[in-house]
């Protein structure tokens, strides 16, 4: 049993590496449009996966992704002209990380729905404060961001995703990940058997913010002009949560699947039928919550089980 599980893991790892390698060669032959589309898909995958990194094992619904994403965006807008690109992205992730540490430390006592409300309020607080600050002290609402070509943006996003996959993998198979799942199962029990519940939650929350900040920092260069409404749009938080739930948060590839499907749907629908896209999104979400508690991957697993059961019956 154990060797079979190991084999499966090696297989998955190999498949992931091949997939990443394929993605890395994409700019060599694909048209620019494909690169731009893939960048958006990768962005949603990064946001969704980093959300799931903290929220999937612990069960805390964080609505903060938009805050860290927006901080990345503004780091890029402010430092973009003064620092080289890698330094800008690093700065974006570092600032997000520090803010997440602070928030994590502050919200340790909040449970369940109150944590969701707090993180949501936080995004709105940062947005409105920053809007006021910009108008008051810089005199304009928005800022221009330095130009970076599409291929570079694509590669940076791919590197962020590769690192995120690595971190997710390492956390899941370590004692760290086990302790996190323990918190999700029963926080009191986890604390009782010696898990540093608060430190662990804060650390994971902050690690997940690194990737959101980095994604924001590189995405800003594609949009060229940002204002607080664009940067701190709560929709990024909602999307991350919903895409992850749709894909299924029991396995790391669930959020990837959910994000990829909806990012692609968004790309083809949002310019022509924006309202229908969001309408479909809402309906799918409700159907998922009602009928697919384990998301798309849960559905796939169920079908596989049924098919396998059928084979057993035949044999």
């Amino acid at each position: 049993m154990n060797t079979r599980k190991n084999l499966r893991q090696i297989w998955l790892l190999g498949l992931t590496l091949i997939f990443l390698a394929l993605l890395a060669t994409l700019p060599l032959y694909a048209p620019t449009y494909t690169i731009i589309l893939m960048t958006s898909i990768l962005m949603y995958i990064v946001l969704t996966m980093s959300w799931a990194l903290f929220s999937a094992p612990t069960g805390y619904i964080s609505l903060a992704p938009a805050a860290f994403f927006g901080i990345g965006i503004y780091t890029s807008a402010i430092l973009g002209t003064r620092l080289p690109l890698p330094a800008v992205i690093l700065a974006g992730s570092l600032i997000s990380f520090c803010l997440a540490l602070l928030i994590g430390a502050l919200t340790l006592r909040l449970r369940g729905i109150y944590f969701a409300m707090f993180t949501f309020g936080l995004v709105e607080l940062i947005k409105n404060f920053w809007l006021w600050y910009e108008i008051q002290f810089t005199g304009t609402r928005g800022r221009f961001v330095i130009f970076v070509d599409n291929t570079t943006i694509y590669y940076v996003m791919l590197i962020i995703l590769a690192l995120l996959l690595l971190v997710t993998y390492l956390i899941r198979r370590s004692r760290f990940g086990l302790a996190l799942r323990g918190i999700g199962e029963c926080e009191e029990a986890a604390a009782h058997i010696g898990v540093h519940v608060n430190a662990l939650k804060t650390a994971t929350f902050a690690i997940s913010a690194i990737f959101m900040g980095a994604a924001g920092a590189i995405m800003a260069t594609r949009w060229t002009y940002v204002d607080p409404y664009v940067a701190f749009n709560p929709l990024y938080s909602f999307m991350s949560v919903l895409m992850a739930i749709f894909g299924g948060i029991g396995q790391p590839y669930g959020p990837i699947l959910g994000a990829a499907i909806f990012a692609y749907l968004e790309e083809i629908l949002i310019t022509r039928f924006p309202y229908y896209y969001m309408l479909i999104f809402g309906i799918v979400l409700i159907v998922t919550v009602l009928y697919l508690p384990e998301g798309l991957i849960g559905l796939v697993a169920n079908i596989r089980k049924r098919v396998a059961g059928g084979q057993d019956a035949l044999a």
Binding site: M117, G121, L125, Y275, L285, I286
Partner: protein, 289 residues
């Protein structure tokens, strides 16, 4: 100077009355049915836009719209609870899981209602003028529509409070809020009461939307803004408490008008600062248990 102070205070109270009414429905939905209804603001938006459409197309008096939007929103809410949330309640393993699942479902509902409205009415900002007659009051000037909506908000809130405290159904609702299983054992039809609460919450939102449209412009994406205000007021005043919602609403309205007086750009910032501090210090609210 004193006139200025009176003006700021009255503006705050007028805002507060509307905020309270916006929050009463959510307070009931979250306090009793345990649903943090993110789509609450969408019912407000639907109420507002329907009133606008009826007024501009058919000349229907907004006061008459109250009698239309309230019941329609009630039926909509009741049906939604009966079909969606009841099933969710049955399939959720624990109250905590139901709270997060129902919040996610409410997100879905928010997207659906908002985009149906956008498909019908488009994203334009709509407004009509109704009773924009200046009224002199303690040396200050206010629109008659503002005073009317304030009065209606108070009357509706009071009526709702009396309904909950005096009638048999109200008693069943309060029992269900305290302890659903025991209330069920005492012969309260829990599923009915919860659906009733959700429907009443939706009706209050629809009514609030009608009142809001009398004073402010309305548009398809206004919902979330009011949902947030409702959440802040509910957290401020304590869950499931109608007097709490009114106290919370007035406090928020006053804070808003005072901050606006000094620095208009910071009013929303002040709301969120209070909200976040409150969650950290006293998440059960001022009148909360």
């Amino acid at each position: 100077m004193t006139i200025k102070i009176i003006e700021v205070l009255i503006t705050g109270l007028l805002m507060g009355g509307l905020y309270a009414l916006v929050a009463v429905g959510l307070s009931l939905q979250y306090g009793v049915a345990r649903i943090l209804n993110i789509s609450h603001g969408e019912f407000i938006m639907l109420g507002g836009l329907t009133t606008w459409a009826l007024y501009t197309a058919l000349g229907v008096n907004p006061l008459l719209s109250l009698a239309i939007c309230g019941p329609v929103a009630f039926i909509l809410g009741f049906v939604i609870h009966r079909t969606l949330f009841k099933r969710l309640l049955a399939s959720s393993a624990s109250p905590a899981i139901f709270e997060s699942n129902s919040m996610l479902a409410a997100f879905g509902l928010m997207f659906i209602l908002q985009n149906i409205a956008l498909l019908i009415w488009g994203p334009e900002i709509r407004g009509y003028s109704y009773l924009v007659i200046p009224v002199h009051f303690l040396g200050t000037l206010f629109g008659a529509n503002r005073l009317l909506t304030f009065g209606l908000a108070l009357v509706i809130g009071l009526g709702f409070y009396l309904f909950l405290s005096l009638t048999r159904t109200g008693k069943a609702i309060r029992a269900a809020a305290q302890d659903p299983p025991t209330a069920g054992l005492m012969g309260v039809n829990i599923n009915n009461v919860l659906a009733l609460c959700f429907g009443l919450g939706a009706a209050m939102a629809g009514i609030a939307g009608v009142l809001i449209s009398m004073c402010y412009p309305v548009h398809g994406v206004m919902g979330l803004e009011y949902t947030i205000i409702a959440i802040i007021v509910v957290v401020l005043g304590g869950l499931g408490s109608i007097p709490g919602s009114f106290i919370g609403g007035f406090i928020l309205g006053l804070i808003g008008s005072v901050v606006t007086f000094f620095e208009p750009g910071l009013a929303l910032v002040a709301y969120y600062v209070i909200f976040i501090l409150l969650l950290l210090v006293r998440p059960t609210g001022i009148l909360g248990r």
